[in-house]
């Protein structure tokens, strides 16, 4: 194929094509078109923008971008002024979009609409280059985007291109440094040196267990076998998390590139991305991205002329949380029901079809390429001493500015909730925070000042898992929330092992009793015994951690539980007491 990309020169050519559409010499209008934007009416805004451009016969293009994370302000509309900064407007409607654009096209200002902020420059994280937009009188006095409370403490590595590029354009990705890492690794590095680089960076799995990625890859690299696999776990089943969706929708090439590098390092020629079916847009975007990469020879045979072959395909889930567990996911790809396997053997030695398999989370794969292009030292300088790099949290619940925030490790919940999130709606008190997916449960406000890390150090840091930070205000009930989380586990337990299948049901029934005021002190003892049994005897992580919400509720919110039991009263008035 003569169109195949082989050298960095070929990438340069594509990058200049991408730059031309990314930073055109004319007005560019960007519409936040992730699922979150669409849910708030981004299509109507886009139609209005197109119609206005047509009406004024303006020299302007309209482009769709992924989610930048500021979900509370969706739909977003950005105007990149020619030779000037990029100006963002939030909470758009068709009428507002028409008004802003009409004002700009006729008077050169933005009418009555107040911009959220402006970008004077954007960093291409993969390469470290900075694109400066220049200045324009129309953008005078608009606050810098990076100075906004929501973005001030953020550090973008995983979401480096989300909300800046058209995810359907591989050229725009390449213009921002995509595939430079893969090109470098495949053409000038040995697999062993890729492994060394990843190990040195301190990258850990972002799925929540924080296992060192370099070590995992090395196990698979050393495992015997001519056929090996790499798998991307995009079955983001934990309710309250949407960051993987956002990366898939906003910058699919980040994952593809990470997987190419990983496949080369461990020696796998086939890869799968397992995406949950609740993310139709993510699947479409990813499939398009894979097709584009195949067309350019970035996926397929002899990638970058290195002789390395790698094929990637997408598998859709079908609504099973347990398929986010890596062996459950492997079972599902093999075409079975997603019942997890016992371990050992671990997937790195016997995974997909019994072959060595590396399963990593979306965020982990997306972190790989910049480590190769900018070096492990650069990556290790971000984050905390024990856990390098960044991760994404989803701020939700009763917080003023919900959205996705990418933060370096070592930051505290307080920084996120009160710094970025702007505090709690109605300035109510914080009752609890439901962190890290359903298996951690609720933590008390006293833990807000602990640094978020992969290690638990009493009084200093805590592993907050992955996923959402769901802020609960003083009107919510932790007992009710715990019951809700247990109900989730009852639904999602696959039923393979008894401790989990029966244990989740019994715990749910006990919490139901507590919520209805029918429980007694014996219930607590039973709960404690059952938690221990489930933790010790379940086959997979779902069962061993399903008691997490109960343990945390008993440890941190004992007063509330006692009030339900002894006082037969829900302090927040959420649970309805029934006659004993």
């Amino acid at each position: 194929m003569n169109t195949a990309v082989r050298t960095s020169g070929d990438l340069d050519k594509l990058a200049s094509l991408g730059s031309a559409s990314l930073y055109p010499e004319k007005v560019k209008i960007l519409i936040g078109s992730g699922t979150c934007g669409l849910a708030m009416g981004a299509r109507a805004v886009e139609d209005a923008a197109l119609a206005t451009v047509k009406r004024f016969k303006a020299d302007a293009t309209v482009s769709r971008i992924g989610c930048i994370g500021f979900c509370s302000q969706e739909p977003l509309l950005d105007i990149v002024l020619p030779g000037g900064p990029r100006v963002s407007f939030g909470s758009m409607t068709a009428a507002k979009a028409r008004a802003v654009l009409t004002a700009y096209f006729t008077k050169g200002n933005f009418g009555g609409e107040k911009p959220l902020g402006r970008f004077s420059s954007e960093e291409h994280v993969s390469t470290g280059e900075v694109h400066s937009y220049g200045s324009s009188p129309a953008a005078e006095g608009i606050p810098e985007w990076s100075k906004l409370d929501f973005f001030r403490l953020q550090k973008k590595v995983i979401m480096r291109n989300c909300g800046s590029i058209d995810p359907m354009s591989i050229e725009e990705s390449i213009a921002r440094g995509a595939y430079r890492g893969a090109q470098k690794a495949l053409s000038s590095m040995k697999p062993a040196s890729v492994l060394d680089e990843i190990t040195a960076s301190g990258l850990r799995g972002r799925g929540g267990a924080y296992f060192p990625t370099g070590q995992k890859w090395r196990f698979a690299h050393n495992a015997k076998g001519d056929v090996k696999y790499v798998v991307c776990n995009a079955d983001e089943g934990a309710p309250g998390s949407s960051m993987d969706r956002s990366v898939l929708e906003g910058d699919p090439h980040a994952i593809i590139e990470g997987m190419i590098i990983g496949s080369y390092a461990i020696g796998a020629n086939v890869g799968y991305v397992y995406v949950r079916s609740e993310y139709p847009l993510a699947i479409t975007t990813l499939e398009h991205a894979i097709a584009e990469a195949e067309k350019l020879g970035i996926l397929g045979d002899d990638i970058f002329g290195s002789g390395w072959n790698f094929r990637l395909s997408v598998r859709r889930g079908a609504g099973a949380y347990v398929c986010g567990e890596e062996t459950g996911l492997i079972e599902s790809i093999e075409g079975h029901s997603g019942e997890p396997r016992g371990r050992p053997p671990f997937p790195v030695t016997a995974g997909l079809w019994g072959k060595p398999t590396v399963v990593n989370n979306v965020k982990t794969w997306a972190s790989v390429a910049p480590i190769i292009t900018r070096g492990s030292q650069w990556y290790a300088s971000i984050g905390s001493k024990t856990t390098t790099g960044t991760t994404i949290f989803s701020l939700e619940g009763s917080v003023k500015n919900p959205g996705l925030v990418e933060v370096p490790f070592g930051i505290t919940l307080r920084d996120m909730i009160y710094g970025m999130g702007g505090g709690i709606r109605g300035d109510k008190a914080c009752k609890a925070v439901q962190v890290g997916g359903p298996s951690i449960g609720c933590v008390p406000p006293s833990m807000l000042d602990l640094a978020i890390d992969s290690q638990d150090v009493p009084g200093k840091s805590a592993n907050m898992g992955t996923g959402g930070i769901i802020v609960m205000d003083s009107d919510s009930c932790v007992v009710d929330m715990t019951r809700f989380l247990l109900g989730f586990f009852v639904d999602e337990s696959c039923g393979r092992c008894t401790p989990c299948r029966e244990g989740t049901k019994q715990m749910y029934a006990m919490f139901n009793k507590i919520c209805e005021g029918k429980a007694n002190t014996e219930t607590i003892e039973q709960l404690e015994r059952l938690s221990q049994a489930m933790n010790a005897a379940s086959v997979c992580g779902l069962g061993t951690t399903a008691s997490g919400p109960v343990t945390n509720a008993l440890r941190h919110f004992r007063d509330d539980i006692d009030m339900h039991i002894a006082g037969r009263k829900c302090p927040a008035g959420v649970c309805e007491m029934k006659k004993a």
Binding site: C36, A39, M40, E334, G338, M481
Partner: protein
């Protein structure tokens, strides 16, 4: 004991034989034999296949208790084989039956087994070394009940071809069928299982495992209401019960006019826009229960 009492109770008639013949050595036949033996009858248990046990030994769990099937049947098989009052005749069929109630005469034909039963330990090595064929004998072949119509046929052929012989093809085939049809039509599942050389029971096991895959036809539009943690904290329960009331259905149901199917899902990934829902492929964030009518109106 009972046999003797019977003898006394009906002295006038011809003496009944104190033996019973049971046809079929599945769980029902085994249980019947054990009960009859306990009641004092001598039992001839005739089974067509090489062993007794039937289909139950192939099942994972039994409805409705979810008990392990093998755990139920194994002790019964052992008890049946050990029972001195039960004569198990396998690889056999009843070819003739004469006489009347109380005094039958049955002729049983036994096929050759090619195995010396006195020496067999059940190790299974002979199956691997079988010079005739390497396939264990199966009695039941899953054959689709009906032919597919042209449209379904074209769909299934296309979707299977796309898997290019992937050994894990079942899951994508079922998922695509479920996505396109809204549910899994029985005929397509039967044909898919047969073409992928997967027992129908296995295909159904996979299909019933995944929450998204359903066996009932759906309405013209599918409403998915998010019941994730974030949405729960923003009162999704109220939204769900409002929709249930408006449509007159509960979770998973389809309204009378066949317009909407209502489903709750564990998280649509629109957590910052709670409460959220999706109708077909259109997502809605920060749903105000007062706007529900306006939203539903867009879908006829």
């Amino acid at each position: 004991m009972i046999a003797e009492t019977t003898k006394e109770a009906v002295p006038a008639k011809k003496e009944p034989v104190g033996a019973v013949l049971v046809c079929g050595g599945g769980i029902a036949g085994i249980q019947a034999s054990l009960d009859l033996s306990a009641a004092g009858f001598y039992v001839y248990l005739v089974e067509e296949s090489p062993t007794i046990g039937g289909n139950m030994a192939r099942l994972d769990k039994t409805f409705p208790t979810g008990d392990c099937a093998t755990c139920i049947i194994s002790p019964k098989v052992v008890a049946c084989m050990r029972d001195l009052n039960i004569d198990v005749i396998t690889m056999a069929e009843v070819v003739k039956l004469e006489g009347e109630a109380g005094n039958f005469r049955a002729t049983v034909k036994t096929r050759p087994r090619f195995v010396n039963m006195d020496k067999c330990t059940g190790c299974g090595d002979c199956i691997e070394r079988c010079p005739v064929r390497n396939i264990p004998r199966t009695v039941f072949e899953s054959k689709p009940a009906e032919e597919l119509d042209k449209k379904d046929e074209a769909f299934l052929t296309d979707i299977i071809a796309r898997q290019q012989g992937d050994p894990g093809a079942l899951m994508p085939v079922l998922e695509a069928t479920n996505r396109v049809y809204g549910y899994l039509p029985r005929g397509i599942v039967e044909h898919a299982a047969s073409r992928l050389s997967i027992p129908l029971a296995s295909a159904l096991k996979v299909a019933s495992f995944y929450d998204k895959m359903r066996f009932e036809p759906v309405g013209r539009h599918v409403i998915q209401v998010c019941n994730g943690t974030s949405c729960h904290s923003q009162h999704s329960a109220a939204l769900i019960s409002l929709l249930e009331k408006k449509l007159g259905v509960s979770d998973g149901g389809t309204d009378k006019s066949g317009r909407f199917t209502l489903r709750t899902v564990r998280c649509l990934g629109l957590c910052a826009l709670s409460p959220s829902m999706r109708i077909d492929d259109v997502s809605f964030g920060k749903v105000d229960p007062d706007d529900i009518d306006k939203i539903l109106e867009q879908f006829s």
